[in-house]
């Protein structure tokens, strides 16, 4: 007898529908799974068998064949355990055959149904009228498929409902969306006026930021305060972030993610960990998990140069295209990049007291390639605060800065972009007309070699943000342009040659 259950498998951040066909026939007893299952998927045989027996059902002593269609797409993970088990029960006549049933979930040996990564995109991809989902994931899945989701805690729930017509168990109470948690506040930052200004510009316009300074100057402390300046996500962004986090297997205790994510991968991160991918699969990387939020790379100079250069395309386009043998996936990567590094390995940066020989400094500076630096709009040197600053009174709190940031972001939305850093071409020309004096300033900077072509566009975007924060006037004044140039990475790190 044949039973067919709809399910899905994860490719990148998207679910792809999979049809699970279970055939139970006379013949030599056996259990085979075909249709490109990966290792964890093939192990379903043992889990399904034990779960079925533990739930008080009998394992058919027959020839069981499971086909996962389409056969050309690799199936990843243990999410197909539940549909296979239901298929075996139906095909062996232990529960009545039901058409248009979908399911995903991992089975425990005791018959319990466990959560799997990517519940949200998986549920979205299953076309069935009724989708059985792990109860733990129900509140997330409900966000996209609503009442079609039937939460199940164990295989016995499925049998009770389908064979004995008991009602489906109630979904667990959806978690109360918490108020915005209190993050670290800008009021704790003493002194550092230039870095404070750079953080405000970065948050307001979505401009990438690099903090350079000796150890103990407060680079990491400053960067951690950036998410607190960003406005909450809008519903579309929240859904996108939630999907990616679900696919990446991150916990989603509060359902939708409303806060801009803040991801800080360690500098030992591999290319697959940062931009996504992996052997055979296309798991979202940190740059996707940080989409619509902040990607913080501490100790930028310690990252492998090849890993950093892999960030260039996502930073420019806002998406990562990961190609693997199994296919190509597109994953969101609209991040605000914040990086921090020491000027040289000893941290002093070529000044008096620096212990690094010149070639060590040069090698350290070369680890961050020119093309990557060219994509960084704001570069600020952070000094150790002076005694007077440390003992001074409290500074402006995050909430006051966040108000100005929200105002600038709303101006950007009126121009049709999410933030000023995304202004391009004609839209940029309309949004940022130059006053004649400002044009002269830019011309001089281009002639002096202080700006590249890409640098010019990015400088105009930053200048637009500066004017927006100041008085929101229509055109760019020379002072706005000069400030923007002042924040660009002007010189190679580690000092000049030699």
């Amino acid at each position: 007898m044949l039973a067919t259950i709809s399910s899905a498998t994860l490719v990148g951040v998207d679910g792809r529908p999979v049809s699970v066909e279970v055939h139970v026939a006379d013949g030599l007893p056996g259990f085979t799974i075909v249709g490109l299952p990966d290792a964890s998927c093939r192990e379903a045989r043992d889990r399904v068998r034990a779960a079925l027996v533990s739930s008080g059902r009998t394992w058919p002593v027959k020839r069981i064949t499971v086909n996962l269609a389409p056969g050309s797409m690799p199936k990843i993970g243990a999410g197909l355990d539940l549909p296979i088990a239901i298929g075996v029960l139906m095909a062996s006549g232990q529960i009545p055959a039901t058409s248009d049933l979908g399911a995903f979930g991992e089975l425990g040996l005791d018959g319990s149904v466990r959560a799997v990564p990517g519940a949200l995109p998986l549920a979205d991809a299953i076309p069935a009228d009724r989708v059985l989902v792990p109860a733990i994931d129900a509140h997330v899945v409900g966000l996209v498929i609503g009442a079609r989701a039937c939460p199940v805690r164990a295989l016995t729930d499925v049998v009770a409902s389908l064979a004995d017509h008991c009602p489906w168990p109630d979904p667990p109470p959806s978690p109360v969306a918490p108020a915005m948690p209190e993050g670290p506040d800008m009021a704790d930052v003493r002194g550092q006026p230039a870095a404070r200004l750079a953080l405000e510009y970065a948050a307001a316009g979505g401009h990438h930021l690099l903090l350079v300074g000796p150890p103990g100057a407060g680079k990491t402390m400053l960067a951690r305060r950036l998410p607190g300046l960003l406005p909450a996500l809008d519903p579309d962004q929240a859904m996108e972030v939630t999907r990616v986090h679900s696919a990446a297997g991150l916990s989603l205790p509060h359902g939708l993610v409303w806060q801009p994510p803040f991801r800080a991968p360690h500098h030992s991160a591999s290319m697959a960990a940062l931009v996504g991918g992996g052997s055979g699969s296309a798991r979202p990387g940190e740059v996707s998990a940080a989409s619509n939020g902040v990607l913080f790379l501490d100790e930028l100079g310690e990252f492998a140069p090849s890993v950093l250069d892999a960030l260039r395309q996502p930073l420019e386009e806002g998406v990562v295209r990961v190609a693997r043998a199994g296919g190509t996936t597109e994953q969101p990567a609209r991040v605000l990049l914040v990086a921090a590094m020491n000027p040289c390995p000893c941290g002093v940066g070529g000044e008096i007291g620096c212990r690094c020989p010149p070639h060590t400094r040069a090698r350290y500076a070369r680890r961050v390639s020119g093309p990557l630096l060219d994509r960084i709009d704001l570069m600020v040197h952070v000094d150790r605060p002076q005694a007077g600053d440390l003992l001074g009174g409290a500074a402006e709190p995050s909430s006051a800065v966040a108000e100005r940031v929200a105002m600038v972001r709303s101006l950007a939305r009126e121009r049709g972009v999410r933030c000023n850093a995304e202004l391009h071409g004609e839209r940029l020309e309309q949004a940022a007309p130059l006053e004649p004096d400002a044009r002269d300033v830019l011309e001089q900077a281009l002639l002096n070699g202080q700006l590249s072509g890409r640098g010019l566009r990015r400088t105009l975007c930053v200048a637009r943000t500066i004017r927006d924060l100041d008085d929101g006037g229509p055109s760019l004044r020379p002072a706005d342009v000069l400030r923007a140039i002042g924040f660009r990475a002007r010189v190679p790190l580690g000092g000049s040659d030699g």
Partner: protein, 346 residues
Amino acid sequence: MGPRRLRNLLSDRTPIGAVEWVGAGGLPDGVPAPLGAAWRARLHCFDPDAARTQLRESGTKVTWSALPTHPTFLTDDVVPAPVLFRRGRPIDEAAPAVAIVGTRRPSGTGREIARELGLGLAEAGVTVVSGLALGIDGAAHEGALLADAAPPVAFVGGGTDVVYPKRHLGLWDRMVDAGTVAGEAPPAAPPAPWRFPARNRLIAAAADIVVVVESRAAGGSLLTVDEAIRRDRQVMAVPGSLRNPAAAGTNSLLADGCAPVLAVDDVLTALGLSQVERETRRDRVEVPPAPSAAAARVLSACDDGPASIDRLSARSGLAVGEVLAAVSELLVAGAVVDDGARVRRA
């Protein structure tokens, strides 16, 4: 073969003649027979035609002590250099020459001073001599080339076609184009460590005055100073901060009584070239008036020493944004320089 034996060999022969004479069994006085046999064994592997082609292809000229074109300061030296390989122009012996030497790891200020000295001396028609090493040497050559006046001279440790350090590839080529790169090692000779002290003596021999810009307490440039003292050349030193380890060597030279260099004119005066009065010289050359009021305030804030944007803001009483705009303005005007961390007057 050391320089003395080489000089004996070349005193009345051409290099090819010397090769043939030694190959035929000839030996100068005082050379032990086993050493002569070792020389002849090496000569078997020597191909004069290949050597000639190599010289021509690398654009290298050779002079030896018997030739009138060989620099006299090398033949008359206490440790004479009988052979000199050179790329670029012949060395102008008539022009006054000043060596600028120092540490390979200078402070930013030291590098700038070396550059300014190189520029100022070359503009005054002085041949700037140095070693094309990283740090002070390279900065001095950069400055001298910038002047586009008196051609500078570099004495290097390896072959004149072996760029070392690699980072000086561009500078090396410009030195060959607009000046001289010379050394005792034949083309393609690797820059072996033992060649550098010998190279230092060429720098000391070629210069009328040796200026040390920054040297560490036991730096290699102090070896050049020793060679200069041996040859009775005047040594001058640029004073540095007590807290700057790169200036420890130069400061102790000053403590030992060596003449200080406070400006290019001090060196020119020592050479007997400058008539400028000390009083008038100290006046700072005024930068053209800054275009805006904020820029002028930031510029005067820079007078208290290099400072970060934060410090400049505190010193001038202007907001950070205004300081940034002013600094960009001054950078475009060339009134200040910025190393990424600190801003200082140009």
